[in-house]
Every structure is written in structure tokens, then in C-alpha cells.
Amino acid sequence: MCRRLYVLALLTAGLWRPVAGQATDLARLRSRADSLSREWTRANAIADLADSLERERAFAGRDTIAVGALRIVTNPSPLPVRAAAELAWPALDSLYGNAAQDLARHPYIIRAFDPDTSVPRPAVFVGIALPWDMTTQALAALLVANPPMPSPDQTLVSWLDGTLRPGRRAVEERTDVYVQLVTAPSTIVRACFLGALAACRAALELQRSGDALDLWYPGAAERRALVTRSFADYFNHGAGAASFQACAAGIDSVCKTLLLRLPAGTLPRPLDAEARTTLLRAALRLGGRDAYRRLLADPGAPMGDRVATAADAALDTVLAGWRREILAARPPSVALPWWAVSLALAWATLFAACALRSSRWRLG
């Protein structure tokens, strides 16, 4: 009996030591995390204070330039701020419509600096620091690309893969989308190109529900191509190699299983962000000056509904208009233009004439 008690006591003592050790470690880690949290809060408070002081300083002794609803707070310098703002405002106003009036409450803050000076610039400042020899066009492009509009909701940002900005190369973007519609290895994209609006809806991720894999890649061939081309490195090793081989051999169920095993958000979208941006621009054009406000009005609504609401039209009408625009932006044909033909013939004639005038046989 005593021996049993002795063994039990030994076991208890042996088990207690690691448990006690674990408790100590936990307490130590907790105290370290608390200390980090305190430091984080303090650093944030200091950063906020610096930011607020700098913001105060940024507005003090500066000029405010107003063009439309654009407000630009800047220090006196030769930087062509007004001229650039006059170029930028129509682009911003045409995209955001009435929502562009919000810019009056969110001014740009520009710190123009002498590009030739060796005086060190402050490391902490609010706004954009720009050399004052910038051209009007470059500055206008910068204003258009960085409007201080309030950030849209996360659903819209993730659908668009970014935020909506006025397009400086709208025609080229549409041409790129045309090429995507023709060349993307996806049956729904091809069907969209051929005029099936339901396929356009799926390709542009405007469906209300459904599994992304089934919606985007409904065919066995494209699923196999997806696994063997886009994710060969991911699947074709270790334990997954056998499944990869089976999928490559044409067993669709295996391909589907493999694709379902992908981490969320890694399945390639049938069309890239450019396509969705061109669609949104088309919807905003269709919807008039309040379209952007309507787009942001209900962040919880499905994207298809939001696009339709922004356009103030049925989604199919928006999609049909978008498709027409994309088809109209077909890239120029590879056929040579008349002037290239004329130039080539002129050069050939010129070189032939040089041969006629060559020095051979000439006396002296």
C-alpha cells in the first residue's frame, strides 16, 4: 500500500512540474502581450498627435485653390496647381457625378518643394510632396489618380480588386477586355463574347448565388486545364501527385476535388479587374449624376443589384450596353495601313533608283 502511495506521489510530482512550468510560461507570455498592447496604444496616441499637429501645420499659411468642388491646400510655389485642377476636375466630376461634391470636404494637401535644393525635407508630413517643376499634365494625372474620396465599402473594393478611378486610357482598357473575351480559356467568357448575357453575368461575378467553381468553370476540359496549367506546381508533388495525374488523365471528379481544395480566393477569376471596371464605368455613365451615390448606397446588396441600381436600369440592359462597347473596341486589324504600303513602295523605288545611279561603269 505504501509502495503504491509512493509511486502515486512520484507520478503526481512528475506531472505537476510541466503543468506548473506551462502556467509560468503562459503568464510570462500574457504579460509580454499586455506590455506590447500598451506600447501599441501609446505609439498610436503619439502618431495621432503628430498627425494632428502636422495637419494643423499643413493648413496654416497655405493657399486654398478651388476648382469645382476640388479643394487643394498648398504652399505658394510655381507648381501649376490651378491649371492642373482645371484639367482634373472634369474627369472626376464625370465619373463621380454629384458624389464629387464630397471632395469639397476632403481637400488635397500638396507640399511643393524646390527640386534643386539640398535642404532636407521633413520626414513626417501630411499630403503629397511634389517638386514644383512638375508639368500641368503630370500634376493633373496625379490629382485624377489620387482623389481624396471616402473609401468605398470592402465588398465593392474586393469585387473591383481596388477602387474606382477615372480612366485615362478607357479605350485601351476596353480593347484589352475584348482580347480577354476572345482568348480567355473559359466557356462562359466565350459565351459572353458570343452574346449570352447570363454568361456575362457569371463571368463578371454578378450572380446572386452559386458555387464559384461551377459558375466560372462549368466544363470538364477547362477544369482540367486549370489544374494542369495554373496549379501544376501546387498539386503535382507529394501526396497530391497521384490525384494530379488522375485529373490530367481526364477524371473530372478528381479535378473538381482538387480545385475545391484550393484556399479561398485563389481560384482565378474568368475575367480580370479591367473587365469589371469597364462594366462599372458603363453603369455609372448610364445612371447619370447620382449613379455613384446609388452604387454606394447599399453595401450589403448583391453586386449585380448594386450595378443595376447605379445604372438605374435592368442588369441585362447594362450588360448588353457594356458588351456592345467592348465589341466596338476591337483592336485594329493586322492589315497594313495605306501609308505604310506607300512608304514601303517609296523606299523600294528609292533604293532601286540608287542602283540605277551606282558608280559601276562610270568613267574616272
Binding site: T183, P185, V334, A352, W361
Partner: protein
Amino acid sequence: MLYSQWKWSRLIVFFGALAGFALPLVSLQGAARADRSPLAAQDLLRAVQSWGALYPILAAALGLLVAVATWAPDHQGRHVHALTLPLPRWRYVLLRFASGAVLLAIPVAAVLLGAVLATATATPPPGLQGYPLALGAHFALATAVAYAVFFAVSAGTARTAGIILAVGGALIVVQVVASTANVDIDLVSPLRFFILGWAGPFAIFTGRWMLVDV
């Protein structure tokens, strides 16, 4: 003159025509198969683009070889035969140029025929189109320019050809020396723009040589 020229350059013309006929067919290989996936549009375009790089090379090679072959017998015979003919030089040169150009029409026609045949038998995915006539015209113009350039060089004396080569070589040497000495001189870019820019003599060799495109 045409017959004698044919004798000198028939091998070049034959192999050039063969290559020109085969090139479009090879570049669209597989596109004619019924089981080809319509999803492979990008692969098809990539293949056509890769093979397309060979058209300007073939055009330049044909122009060079036929131009050299056109003048080779005259150079070998020290122009004695030409001098015995009751013809002014310009007319003789014109006849030589014309006969070479006629022979070059054979490989150009072969490229056109091959391109027409390749696109007629292929079934490209929706959205892609064949451009056999545009490709044929592009090839014909590139061949004509290459032929005219090399014909002009061959028609001159060795001294003229030497001067042209020396000028080109000197420019390259100056550029290399300037780069080594950290001197900010860029001779190559303006030269490239002059030669290959949109209005340059060799602009026709640039651009997209696509038999099938969007």
C-alpha cells in the same frame, strides 16, 4: 535575261517558295483538327506569333540572296558581257532589277497560297480571324524592300559597300567607346528610329506578322 537569271537563282527561289508555302501551314498546325479545344485561342495566337517572326527573316534572306545572285555573274565576268550589249547602263540595271523581282514573285505567291490554304482548312476559335491577304501583302512589301536595298548595294562597287559597312561600324565603335568613357551620347537610338521607326526604310519588317489574330 529572265531565263539566265532563273538559272542562277532557281535553287534560292525553289527553297524560298517551299519555306514560304510551308510556314503558314506549320504555324496553324493543329488548328484544323476537329478535336481542338476552342478554349486554346491563346495558345494558337502564341504559336502564330512565334512562327510569325520567321516571315521577315525569310523576306530579308530572299531579298539578299536573289539580289546577290542577280549580280554575281556580272561581277565574276567583270561586266564584260554587259558592256558588249547595246544598252545604256540604267536600262540594263532596270532589266536586271525587273527580272529579279519577277523571280521573287514566286516565293511571295507561295506564301500567299500557303496562307490562304492554311486559313481555309483551319477552324479558328470564335473571335479569331485569318488574315492571309494582309500577311501576303506584308511579306511581298518586305521582300521588295530587302531586294531593292541589297540590289543597290550589289550594283555598286566593293568600295561603296565598304563605305556603307565602315560608316555603320564606325557608329557602333563610337557608341561603345562613348559608353565605356561614360560620355552621354546615344547614337544607336536615333539610328534605330531612323531605320526601324514608322517612316524608316525597314519599318515594314516590324509590326505584327499574324496569320490569325483577333
